[in-house]
Amino acid sequence: MIEADHLTKRYGDATAVQDVTFRCEPGTVTGFLGPNGAGKSTTMRMICGLTPPTSGAARVLGVPYRRIANPGRHVGVLLDAAAQHSGRTGRETLALSAHVLGVERERAERLLREVGLPATAARRRVGGYSLGMRQRLGIAQALLGDPRVLILDEPANGLDPEGIHWMRTLLRDFADRGGTVLLSSHLLREVEAVADRFVVIVGGRIVAQGDKRELLGSSGGTLVRAVDPLGLENALKDAGLAVRRAADGSLTVPADSETVGRVAAKTGAVLLELRPAGEGGLEELFLSLTAPEPKETPR
């Protein structure tokens, strides 16, 4: 369980994070979204006790992160895959963490194989790794202590499609076994595919949060496409519904799909498509939430 309680971080006059409050429950994956410089990483660092908040507090497993005696055994953290010593080998990096956590060296070796860093890669220096390989090493490090909570900042960055699929499966399984996942990402489709809940932050403030269904379902309306668009449009208008026709002949109707389907069935229209409007899903939501705000000036 992760709780952020009115977290605020100010640097001089600039406010990086303002009054951020959310909860991540066991068994769920929470997608943490926002444009560059929105305060995602700062919030995550405050949760992990690396950045002291100006005000507010964060708890992991019911206590402030720094209160956890051996945090690596409860919380897997990957805040920046690039933050590894370039002069050490992948295996040595993981062996050091295993020593600190007090877990078997053998577990480190096994995890390296599981995340897709075979012995030949593990023996190389991290300086020669691609970003994707560093992400895999970082994931292995986060999983090393067999944690119940995962806090991952942009873990899919630099991964190939196979790696992204692997990551998605891994996080889903982790949550399904009762784990708590907080995951930030720019790759909206990946987050949409894996997360149950979203927290969207823009300019340091939360602009939306809730279940996937609440957030994405509310964009409204039904999109319908028929072999004879004009006929269907007229039928829908006759039924008292407002209809908006797009250039490709698809119609957007502010009603649920059952209502639209019934009208189509009654007139005998042949449908090609009938689904909730808003093809973009998360992307559309994201753009609608972030567009009006001017980009925050970098600090």
Partner: protein, 258 residues
């Protein structure tokens, strides 16, 4: 809530000796760390050779060779101390280190202990180099001096080496930047030495504050630590070791890790 709180108390935080072993390993498992130690050893071996082949026969004694073998330790080991801290910031491994061990003061303590252990190991290697030099001297008939090193000299050189690494760690913590910490570590005492020698008014102060002067009796085979010499050492170390260590510790404890 109580059950949850108990569960986060176990397993226990890593013990200080575990952290010390980890920090020691971090000092020697990077390319930079390894090369520094190779140069420490090479410096020692080379200067034992210099004593054996270039010094007058009367000076080819065991304490002289031991003293020469420590040159690398005196100059380069503090750099390793600096790197053990600044490397965490330049390579950004502090992110992992302090995420796994939120008690940053324990990491600092482990770094200091690891530095002391490394200094001891380096001294042992230097002693072996010196005795090898003495043996070579015997074979080549270049010396017939004794084989012993006074225990007081072993102790004072160990103290000197440990203080050196610790000031390196302290400077590293104070500046959190490799080039700045290394340059100032060497430059400030030298600048002070030059000032002390050129400006008459500062000469008296330099006797108490110039580490080159205050530590000289420790590393010198002929040197003797009088009560006054100990007092001078303590004052100079308070300025060059304790002060940066205290300020640096405060900085590391407060610094936001990114």
């Amino acid at each position: 809530m109580t059950a949850l709180t108990i569960s986060v108390d176990r397993p226990a935080a890593p013990a200080l000796h575990t952290l010390t072993v980890v920090e020691l390993r971090k000092m020697v498992n990077t390319r930079a760390g390894r090369w520094l130690l190779v140069f420490v050893a090479l410096c020692g071996v080379a200067l034992v050779g210099v004593v054996l082949f270039a010094a007058p026969r009367a000076d080819r004694t065991m304490p002289e060779m031991y003293s020469a073998s420590l040159s690398g330790v005196a100059i380069l080991l503090p750099v390793l101390g600096v790197l053990s801290v600044t490397g965490e910031w330049s390579q950004r491994t502090a992110l992992t280190t302090f995420t796994l061990v939120p008690g940053r003061e324990r990491v600092i303590a482990a770094k200091l202990l690891a530095g002391a252990v490394l200094a001891t190991l380096c001294l042992a290697v230097s002693a072996v180099a010196a005795w090898t030099g003495r043996a070579l001297g015997a074979v080549l008939d270049r010396t017939d001096a004794g084989w012993g090193v006074p225990p007081s000299m072993l102790a004072s050189t160990l103290l000197l080496a440990v203080l050196g690494v610790w000031s390196g760690v302290a400077f590293g913590m104070l500046f959190l930047n490799t080039p700045l910490a290394i340059v100032l570590f060497f430059l400030l005492p030298i600048a002070w030495s030059v000032l002390g020698e050129t400006v008459n008014a500062l000469d008296g102060a330099a006797n108490w504050l110039d580490t080159a002067r205050t530590t000289a009796p420790l590393g010198d085979p002929e040197g003797e630590m009088t009560g006054r010499a100990w007092a001078r050492l303590a004052v100079s170390q308070a300025v060059w070791l304790l002060l940066p260590a205290a300020l640096g510790t405060m900085r590391v404890l407060r610094q936001e890790v990114k």
